[in-house]
């Protein structure tokens, strides 16, 4: 004989709803985490490099290139300067030249006469230094491409995608709260008669609300943990698929081993990812608070 003071909270749909919502929120959180990892990698591993191209028809090409190399080497903030050899330039241009090839000429790579090749110099420099104005003054014919422009554009793209993921997460949590409230309200409705009887006997409203809220929280927790279990294989598959992008090349997992170690997963996901394990607690808290509110508001209507 249990020590009963309040009706039990019975709902079959609440655990199921929490499981689905956990899967949705988990996927949004995983996407958010992946974007944050990608942004971190780009910020850490991509150096600030300027690519300077001197056109092949420039008079005194070699002298101008030499002067430019000297200028770059003397400029403070320039970390490393490299002039491409004609072989390196051929290799660099190969993808573009391949597009123009016709069928039946697949055995040898296309060659451009060295006199028609542009002269390419790359210069790694500190983030605060902008080489474009300096080079424009010194060699007006040179074309300068800063890869930091791409980093900025990618950063903007990631920021946009991050906002989308955060919005999805917020909508998922909002929908969870709302649908949980509806499900809980329906479950409480089935106990209205019992609640009225207990109220008429002088039951303390908080006792009634607390006991039912604890039942609801437990059901939500069970459902949400089940949702996490459902989500685990999907996340592992996604992690394997994205590992070459997200893990640095020095990591053994980047080559795609059959199973990752916990260490691999730790480096694969940003710290925010681990909040995914807080989802069951969040679902439980939402169910607890919603049940409390629904019951207390309803009991306030009684005399």
């Amino acid at each position: 004989m249990s020590k009963r003071l309040a009706p039990s909270f019975q709902s079959r749909s609440l655990p199921l709803l929490c499981a689905f919502m956990t899967v949705l929120a988990g996927l949004a959180l995983a996407g958010l985490s992946g974007l944050q990892t990608l942004e971190h990698i780009w910020a850490q591993e991509t150096p600030n490099t300027a690519t300077i191209e001197l056109p092949p028809d420039l008079p005194d090409l070699n002298q101008q290139a030499q002067a430019l190399l000297e200028l770059l080497n003397q400029t403070s903030g320039v970390l490393h300067v490299h002039q491409f050899s004609s072989e390196e330039t051929q290799t660099l241009l190969a993808p573009w030249l391949d597009q123009g090839r016709t069928e039946g000429h697949t055995d040898s790579p296309p060659q451009i006469p060295p006199t028609s090749l542009p002269l390419i110099i790359t210069a790694e420099h500190t983030a605060s230094l902008s080489l474009a104005p300096l080079i424009a003054t010194h060699t007006p014919s040179a074309v300068v491409e800063e890869n930091s422009h791409w980093t900025e554009r990618l950063h903007t793209l990631i920021s946009t995608l991050t906002s989308c993921a955060e919005l999805i997460l917020a909508i998922t949590l909002g929908t969870t709260s709302l649908t949980t409230a509806i499900v809980i309200r329906r479950a409480v409705t089935t106990q209205r008669t019992n609640l009225t009887i207990l109220h008429s006997l002088g039951s303390f409203p908080l006792t009634l609300a607390n006991r039912m809220a604890l039942h609801a929280a437990a059901l939500a927790l069970i459902g949400s943990v089940f949702g996490l279990i459902l989500l685990a294989p999907t996340l592992a598959t996604l992690a394997h698929a994205l590992s070459p992008l997200l893990l640095s090349s020095s990591s053994p997992a980047a080559d795609g081993p059959a199973f990752f170690t916990l260490e691999n997963y730790t480096s694969l996901f940003s710290p925010h990812f681990w909040t995914i394990f807080a989802l069951p607690l969040m679902c439980s808290a939402i169910a607890w608070a919603t049940t409390q509110c629904v019951i207390l508001i309803w009991l306030r209507r009684l005399p």
Binding site: N194, G202, F204
Partner: protein
């Protein structure tokens, strides 16, 4: 003990009145019958006295407490001192007979061992010891009524209100219940019983409140 002064109870959702301008007083340690034809307002008055509804107008004093300006907390404490045997029993179907009966004692935070002893004693007295673990839907109407009686009596209420408490009981059990109510009166409880049974009223002569069309027609006998 109980004092009603121009108490009116509106019908929910209509302009009509369930009770109109009721004025009467009942002293502590008294037994009263409440009579009247069907629809006279007996159940409404009992719902009012058990604090399941509150007066629309007028002043009501129960157990030395003014109801019209009482806080929710005061009303809750008063409800715990009132035993109510409703006509439709109002048992919680998912709870066992034991849990239904033990509820008032649990609300008073009695020790579980004491609760067990008292529940067994009262259910034995009402002839229900074999049904202690049964659930209300498994019981007959008379048995459910006895569980409702057990729940109302177990907390030794200061005010006991009963709506047709004997209609599903046999003659012997009805007399057993009325005798128990008389004992409670001698211990200080105020008892009001709504009935249609003239036989019972003759067997247990007591002051009578007669209602008709929501109004008190007359109050007879010494209170």
């Amino acid at each position: 003990m109980i004092h009603l002064n121009n108490v009116t109870l509106s019908r929910q959702g209509t302009r009509g009145f369930a009770l109109r301008d009721l004025n009467f007083s009942l002293p502590r340690s008294s037994f009263s019958w409440l009579v009247g034809p069907s629809g006279a307002g007996k159940s409404s008055l009992l719902e009012l006295l058990s604090l399941n509804t509150l007066p629309s107008h007028g002043h009501m004093t129960l157990l030395e407490t003014r109801i019209d300006n009482a806080s929710r907390s005061t009303l809750r404490h008063l409800r715990r001192r009132i035993g109510f045997i409703p006509q439709n029993y109002r048992l919680i179907p998912e709870w066992s007979v034991f849990d239904n009966t033990a509820l008032p004692l649990r609300l008073h935070k009695h020790r579980e061992a004491d609760i067990r002893r008292e529940v067994h004693a009262i259910l034995h007295w009402l002839g229900l010891p074999q049904h202690i673990d049964a659930f209300p839907p498994q019981l007959s109407g008379g048995e459910q009524q006895r569980v409702a009686i057990a729940r109302a009596l177990i907390g030794r209420p200061a005010l006991l209100i009963a709506d047709e408490p004997t209609h599903a009981l046999g003659e012997d059990q009805a007399h057993l219940l009325l005798d128990a109510m008389q004992q409670l009166v001698s211990l200080g409880t105020t008892v009001i019983v709504a009935t249609h049974s003239r036989t019972l009223m003759r067997s247990y002569p007591a002051p009578t409140l007669t209602l008709n069309n929501g109004s008190l027609m007359h109050q007879e006998g010494t209170l």
